[in-house]
Subunit: 354 residues, 2 copies
């Protein structure tokens, strides 16, 4: 199964392409009626993730609808990892993910260990099955949460809070937090390497909550552990380099530091002007981003204008993968996603000349 | 009533001081038992704001407890302004502020007007009464929300969301949003000038949600309107310049642009290293910040270490007002706030030499 479209993989490695490749974070998701249908059949979000056939089905859905997508991403969730570490992931309808247990007591933290990867076999099976079904249409991205981000869920028990419990730990008992982060980083290395072995052709680390930290705390508690992971990843598989994308949401203040950890690509949220970001990182890394997903709620004309702005701001040359700055929202009209993809393809060719 | 401690006002104008002055955002607040007592007596948060005697009482509470504070800030809320504009502010126990009406329909937006400042007289009365009661101990800061931040509440009906409704308006109907922002900016100019006339010795614009925008959208929808306000403010009162502080939470990517709007001081949240921020803005503005308030939940020793780091990062010379990067949390032990204030006073003298 020869890869028919390698534009995405080339752009990640800053090699020449004919146009700027594009995919959308959370492209298999609730804005698609076919996804909502699959989810109803599967019974829940977690059952979609844990059943390789369902995961394959929904991973492929956006590709069938939008032929202009240049990459697919494993349908899964970053919280499969703390779930495998024994914290008991569950979802309450209409609310974010939660955990039955939290990691706050020293005794619990001492007991934390790298889980047997067999407990995550359903993820690797999904990767294999998706690769088989894709049959070389576009590359498949594997992913994991960053240790800091996973730790926020493990310590707080949920996401998107003020992070007061984990920050209190970071300053009052940094030794305990470092233990959690270290074990989580070891776990993520094994987890991503198993995804690569199963067929993931690029990997992305999502640091969804790194932006909540101060500069120094970000380096100490988030970036250092992403660096450990990058250093521990399989570099080549099946005769091809496996590019690493690192994305800290809200982290554009720290791009210079991110560019030094050995990642091939940095993800950008919408806050930063991508042209300024490119100047700051030079030729060290490619960049992925960064349209505000809220713009997809407006009109095709407004979307096209913003796509044009981002492409022009990045400018001529290689090393840009177009994406949203965060996951596509469930309220996105499908024709607006299509308008974005068409605008990227139409307006990006002028910036690429072989 | 001669001002007995003008260290804060001098630092705002980058004049020499003996030490780095300090105050804490939301220093009159729920972490203080005397505040909780006053609130119980008043009946609610809004009744504290709307009664000048209660507002005076709680404004003074942190000064009585912490003699090392170099400034006081009017006890009020940024949402008094949209409330005066007719949106019907209310609070539900345990939740954030909400509005009875939202501004989404073109007809409603066309009807929006600058309110009569008489509807905000209780705020100006509070300023006068606080000044009288302070009797020159420390300067008094007046404040307002930024037009963008106030508009998020007016359009969304509440704060801290994904801002999808207002962003959709920003991209699909920018004319409507600009109308809201323009009228709000005119209102804020009158509001802050009336606070200055009543005795506010410095003013601060809180742009709590500017950080949710993209670079271009921040300039267009938030920063431009803060510039209009700064241009419309009374520059001198009672023989003294009234310094202007502009603070966009999550906005440290855009400090260079913020430094150009005529503000004397930029507020910093904790994400940015204050030394890097100082290099980026040069001698255009003073800086205020930027300890992560979560650190106040840890230990006095950890707090002292972080205070030392921030002071050292800013380095020698004038133009630094120490503060938290956001409001102090209700779970802060009072002795930890005291430890921060003592550390600032103790360790900052070495960076000031007249």
């Amino acid at each position: 199964m020869k890869l028919q479209n390698d534009t995405f993989l080339k752009a990640l490695m800053r090699e020449p392409t004919d146009y700027t490749p594009v995919w959308m974070m959370r492209q298999a998701g609730r804005y698609l009626p076919e996804y909502r249908e699959s989810r109803k059949t599967a019974g829940s979000f977690l059952q979609l993730c844990k059943n390789p056939s369902f995961a394959t089905e929904v991973t492929l859905q956006p590709l069938d609808r939008y032929p202009l997508l240049d990459a697919s991403i494993l349908f899964s969730d970053i919280l499969t990892v703390p779930d495998a570490m024994g914290l008991g992931l569950y979802f309450e309808e209409g609310e974010g993910p939660k955990f039955e247990r939290t990691l706050r007591e020293e005794a619990d933290i001492q007991k934390l260990a790298v889980p047997d990867m067999a407990s995550l076999q359903y993820v690797f099976d999904a990767v294999s099955q998706i690769r088989k079904t894709l049959n070389g249409r576009v590359p498949l991205i594997g992913f994991s949460g960053s240790p800091w981000t996973l730790a926020t869920y493990m310590v707080e028990g949920k996401g998107g809070t003020d992070f007061l419990t984990i920050k209190k730990m970071a300053y009052a008992r940094p030794d305990l937090l470092h233990r959690i982060l270290d074990i989580t980083a070891q776990t993520v290395i094994q987890y991503l390497n198993a995804q690569i072995a199963a067929g993931a052709q690029a990997v992305m680390i999502f640091d969804s909550w790194g932006g909540a930290l101060s500069h120094n705390a970000y380096i100490e508690f988030s970036l250092n552990y992403m660096q450990k992971i990058v250093n521990g990843l399989t570099r080549e598989h099946d005769g091809r380099i496996v590019p690493r994308i690192v994305f800290t949401k809200g982290g554009a203040l720290w791009l210079e530091a991110q560019a030094e950890i050995g990642a091939d690509v940095l993800g950008l949220d919408w806050a930063v002007d991508i042209g300024s970001a490119r100047k700051r990182v030079g030729d060290k890394v490619a960049l992925q981003g960064n349209l505000d997903p809220a713009i997809l709620l407006s009109t095709p004309a407004a979307i096209e204008k913003e796509v044009v702005n981002i492409l022009a701001s990045y400018g001529h040359g290689n090393g840009h993968v177009f994406n949203l700055g965060h996951g596509i929202t469930q309220w996105t009209p499908q024709e607006n996603a299509a308008a974005m993809l068409a605008a990227v393809r139409e307006h990006s060719r002028q910036y690429h000349s072989k």
